[in-house]
Amino acid sequence: MRALLCAVLLCAFVSRPGRAQVVDLALERGTAGRLGLSVGDTVRLGTAPDSMLRLGVVRAIYQPRPDPAEIARRALQARFHLPDLAELLGAPDRVDRFGLALVAGVSPDSAAAELNRSAFGFRAYPSAQIASESSQTFQVVSRFHRAIAMITIVASAVFLLCIMLLKVEERRLDAAVMRFVGVRRRTIFYALLLEAAVLAVAGSLLGIVIALAAGAITNAYYQRFFDTQLVFSVITPRIVALGVGLSLVLGLAAGAIAAARLVRTRPMVLWGRA
């Protein structure tokens, strides 16, 4: 059994210790990199800088599963055999937590409730509950991102409406000329609407490309910044559909409003001679 290192200090040096006095340990990849250690190196171990009495040999370097909760802490981590760590900490036969595997068919909730009825000095939790509680941080971040996204969508929607309105109004003279030569209002309306739709589609496609590029840059930057394999920006088909759908609906709505205003205006006013 292995346990996570808890406030044990490591001090690296090179020596050839006797086999009996050393403990084996595995170092997390980032920790090994930061301390400049590799497999076979010997380290001094202790619970305080002035009591580094035990020796340890790095037997393995491991890559932990990416954990969003840990990326900002950048804690130095090592793993020991449980008895070695307990002895090192001066706390024999003491652990922070146990993991229990239940036999098939037993409900984790009822097993935890049963244990808690007689619990003294400990508390049992179903894994799902621990997962839920430890994901609180990410639920908060996720809610924050959603709130920012809502503000961004409102800003984008206003921007889109404004641009589309200006774009259509720019065609005042064209619309006037078409009206003078006998083109029907409905035809002009649909032509302007079509133009708005083409613009919205083209803008959406460009937006997807920019989003993909921004996502790739975000991932590359933060994976390097936090030295992790976690993915920070994920652009799913649902997100693309939402973005494209929103821009199309807003673009067409803005185009329709602006085109309707334009075709209702007298041609001489459009021409600027009224």
């Binding site: 808890c6 406030a7 200090l9 619970t47 305080a48 800088p49 002035d50 900002a72 802490r73 130095l76 619990a119 003294f120 000095g121 400990f122 508390r123 509680e133 609180q136 941080t137 908060v140 809610r143 924050f144 709130a147 920012i148 503000i151 961004t152 409102v154 800003a155 206003v158 921007f159 409406l161 404004c162 641009i163 309105l165 200006l166 109004e169 720019e170 005042r172 933060y222 910044f225 600027g272």
Partner: protein, 398 residues
């Protein structure tokens, strides 16, 4: 008529497009305001929180931050005595944090226990009742959350605390009957954290750390702020086996941990500025194109290029100022909403805030927004200035 008056009248000709532009600028300005508050708020809030009681230095076990691990530093009271004798130190106090248990009629409840030296403490404020005396080994301090967990305990009530539980024999190695002396607010507790406090030796026994005189951290207050940096350097040299940090350094470390939010704030703030520039630039460019005939006529009757340019720029300034004013109101409202989301982070001190208005950064943001909005009018102003008078008038006449 002045350039500004002319610009405002020009904007009034197209109320729909002006309204939409103002709405866009307001949302972008609100986002910029929020992001400026976020980027500067973390360190301001954290710094204020750490300095609430005036202790500028924290001493912790080597390689750790306060309450970041369960590690403790030994010989706490001797260390505190030495520090208090230092001529540059105004006072110092040790704190031990540990889980403790309270017996209720039907169960044991888990609490967070602080062991303190009441004569030099920087982690609580007495809200009701009295503070502990330095040698009060039978007194207890409760937070409102702890009092609620203990069935509405009040000043004068007796609480039975248990420590060093042994699950195998279902017994506590340490039981203490303590009388509630005061209700306090623990400055670094998260919302709803049930915390209790006793004098350091009592908590050391309850935390099964009676030997070695351990503490989680020692708070140090220098006699003057100007003494903090040299004192930190000296303490580091004197105590190489301990971690000595000033509040400024702790704020910097917290900022590094929360760098994601700072960077996000910078990116979104920059995007807000870009949106503002695009909106103002596009609106003014189209407006100028529509009014080329009018501009050419003005030029033909002797109005100078500078006047035309200033009028277009004034339109940009008017849009920016009005949009930003609306944006401030919107931004303050959204900042409260966003702060409510982020401060619900588990384990974050209840007094911490992410969105903190600071006069210097807000002024900086306002100046940047105003300058950017004004610069957005440069291209349309240039278009207006270079319009050929004769050709434009001829085109208008045909």
């Amino acid at each position: 008529m002045t350039g500004l008056g002319w610009g405002i009248r020009s904007l009034g000709r197209h109320p729909l497009r002006t309204g939409l532009s103002l709405a866009g600028i307001a949302v972008a300005a609100a986002m910029l305001l929020d992001m400026v508050m976020l980027s500067g708020g973390i360190d301001k809030s954290f710094g204020d929180l750490l300095l609430q009681r005036g202790y500028q230095i924290r001493i912790t076990p080597k390689g750790t931050l306060p309450f970041d691990t369960e590690a403790s530093l030994p010989g706490a009271r001797r260390l505190v005595r030495t520090l208090r004798a230092d001529p540059e130190v105004a006072t110092a106090g040790a704190i031990l944090g540990s889980a403790v248990y309270a017996r209720t009629p039907d169960s044991l409840v888990t609490l967070f226990g602080y062991g303190v030296q009441p004569e030099s403490q920087g982690i609580y404020r007495v809200m009701a009742g009295a503070d502990l005396a330095p040698a009060d080994t039978t007194g207890l301090l409760l937070s409102a959350a702890a009092a609620a967990v203990l069935g509405g305990a009040r000043v004068g009530d007796t609480v039975m605390l248990a420590g060093r539980l042994d699950p195998q024999i279902a017994a506590a190695a340490e039981d203490r009957s303590l009388v509630v002396r005061g209700m306090v607010e623990w400055l670094y507790d998260y919302r709803g954290q049930p915390s209790v406090g006793a004098v350091l030796p009592v908590m050391q026994r309850l935390a099964r750390q009676a030997t070695g005189d351990p503490a989680s951290l020692v708070l140090v207050r220098a006699r003057a702020d100007s003494m903090v940096e040299p004192l930190v350097a000296r303490l580091r040299a004197d105590y190489p086996t301990l971690e000595v940090n000033s509040v400024v350094e702790l704020v910097a470390q917290a900022k590094r941990r929360l760098s994601y939010f700072t960077q996000l704030a910078h990116v979104l703030g920059a995007m807000s500025l870009v949106v503002t520039v695009l909106l103002i630039g596009t609106l003014l460019t189209i407006t100028v194109n529509e009014r080329l005939g009018e501009i050419a006529t003005l030029r033909a009757i002797g109005i100078g290029k500078a006047t035309v340019v200033s009028q277009v720029l004034a339109e940009g300034v008017a849009l920016t100022v009005i949009g930003s004013a609306l944006g401030v109101l919107l931004g303050l409202a959204t900042a409260r909403y966003l702060d409510a989301i982020l401060t619900s982070f588990p384990g974050l001190p209840a007094a911490f805030s992410f969105f903190v208005p600071r006069a210097d950064t807000l002024t900086q943001a306002a100046v940047v927004l105003l300058v950017t909005g004004s610069l957005a009018g440069l291209y349309p102003a240039w278009l207006a200035a270079r319009a050929p008078i004769a050709a434009t008038l001829r085109a208008e006449a045909t």
